[in-house]
């Protein structure tokens, strides 16, 4: 018996520990709402890049609309699109565009995207590498690293140390956008990779732990241990800053999307509109991304996701 008891206690602890990343059930009295008969549930899951915005907004939205309960889960862009396509989700989160393959697959669901913000994917390295002088790389160099043609930091002006190349799960939005930039193909292979990670948290943690890693990460997730390097184009170095993304200079930019089956309707529409409202856009900004309702950006939103 003691074994079983402890299992429950520790399982509870684990849920608390992982609550932020794996399962967010937000809102005051979420449980009572779950039991209430007349509550409407909005099921949301997908990209861990879009997740911080939506979970913050969901919390606010629920305090205003006590009859609505919102569940927000992680999983990745592919999971968000797949879940919406198969109607297991009301809103999918995607930090990339829906591929034509996915569009065909879920043709009957008539997938619809709503852009709620802009972001960029930076090429990131361990802080040790950045400090040793690797401040920027060209597209060619990053590509060669991912292809396994460049395997030592020495070859690009860094210390004599092997490169730990970190790839992501194939369906992840960040990977699609990054590979599209490097190789012109969102599902390009990366034979030089040593590790494969999933969520932004996981990738961030693995790069921070290493002293010689390279990876791809949304700019909002860059910190002191995981440093975004500049992209070299000719003699010019474009740093991964919000300013450069806003001005359209940084080459690996993307839209942050909400995916719905058809046009959003009912409560879902209310929630989507809330995210697009002036107030909702604040959550985009505080999460470290670029709101679409700032005048400088409206022109770009209509365009494609990478320049």
């Amino acid at each position: 018996m003691p074994a079983r008891f402890s299992r429950k206690v520790i399982l509870g602890l684990a849920l608390v520990l992982f609550g932020t990343g794996v399962f967010l059930q937000i809102g005051p009295g979420g449980v009572t709402h779950a039991l209430a008969q007349d509550s409407t549930v909005i099921r949301i899951a997908g990209s861990t890049t879009v997740l911080p915005i939506v979970s913050r907004a969901a919390e606010q939205f629920q305090t205003r609309n006590s009859s609505v309960r919102i569940t927000v889960n992680a999983g990745g862009s592919g999971v968000g699109i797949h879940g919406t396509g198969t109607r297991r989700l009301d809103v999918g989160l995607a930090s990339r565009e829906i591929t034509s393959k996915e569009k065909n697959r879920y043709a009957s669901s008539r997938l619809n995207t709503t852009v709620i913000g802009r972001d960029a994917v930076a090429c990131v390295v361990s802080s040790e590498i950045f400090d040793s002088g690797v401040r920027s790389l060209s597209r060619q160099q990053i590509g060669d690293i991912y292809l396994g043609k460049i395997t030592n930091w020495k070859q690009v002006g860094g210390p004599d140390r092997k490169i730990i190349v970190i790839d992501k799960e194939a369906h992840r939005g960040t990977r699609h956008v990054f590979m599209k930039y490097l190789f012109g193909k969102s599902n390009a292979r990366a034979p030089g990779a040593r590790l494969v990670t999933g969520s932004n948290n996981e990738e961030q943690a693995k790069i921070a732990q290493s002293d010689s890693a390279i990876g791809m990460l949304s700019i909002a997730w860059i910190n002191n241990d995981v440093v975004g390097i500049g992209i070299r184009e000719g003699h010019q170095v474009i740093k991964p800053t919000l300013k450069n993304v806003r001005a359209g200079r940084f080459p690996i930019a993307r839209n942050l999307n909400l995916v719905t089956a058809g046009q959003p309707r009912g409560v879902v529409k209310q929630f989507v509109n809330y995210l697009l409202s002036k107030e909702g856009q604040v959550f985009v900004e505080v999460s470290g991304y670029i709101p679409i309702r700032s005048p400088q950006l409206m022109s770009q939103v209509a365009g494609s996701h990478s320049k």
Binding site: L17, G76, H82, K162, I164, D167, A193, R194
Partner: protein, 290 residues
Amino acid sequence: MNKHSLFPERGPAFWWTGFTALIAAGTIFILFVSLVIESVPVFKSQGLSFLWGADWFAGEAYGALPMIFGSLMVTGLAVVMVLPFALGSAILTSEFLNGRLRLVVKAAMELLAGVPGIIYGLMGIAVLTVWVRDVFGLIDGNTLFTAGLLLAVMILPTVMTLSEDALRSVPGEFRDTALSLGLTRMEMTLKVVVPQALPGLAGAVFLGLGRAMGETIAVMLVIGGIDRIPQPWFNLFAPGQSIPSKIGREAAEALGFDVQWSALIALGLVLFVMVMTLTSAGNLLLRRAR
């Protein structure tokens, strides 16, 4: 021989227990059948090359070999690493500790056996990967070896406490007789108690092996997640992938859809067959040895 010899008594107890046994056996059967049915599409499109293909890229190719290899490698490693420690501590607890202390050790072990994989996974990613990297001077700590080591730690309590039960269940007369014949305590343990407890010990190891083979999240966080067989193949300090870890990473994206889903189910089938084969092979060997 009358016709009731197989089931001499058919009261309510017979029907009730029969019913529950049928449910238990039926569950396994249904699981197996549905795994087979759902994995048909991948075998249709890939043929048997699914089993020995070394390349897996969703939407293009599905080869299970790196995952099969990774699973066997980490499980084998875990069992090899856990055996001396589990058996050693089981023998100490069962044969050399007095009643009270023994209960304390047992309780601690049973408590540990109930800790879910995610806790080990978090410890693994926070501590073990860094430790393995620094101790062995590697460029990175996410390796097959790390996964094996973590699994060894995870199954230690299970294997230890079940082994202890097996040793404990050897009747006291065996010990008394051995000691009265002039054997030392150590000789008694190794020559009399352990051989007597062998089936139970093997059962403990197989149960641990089953848990190790099926463990998902802890392995997923430290194995590296790359679908590749290391070069050379016995290089344990290279990243890899196990079957549950692969399924864990891709299942949500493929749920109920397409060849990719079928390929993941087929991986599950392979795992099922592997655990079954190992367990029954172990039982068979054991029966022959006795």
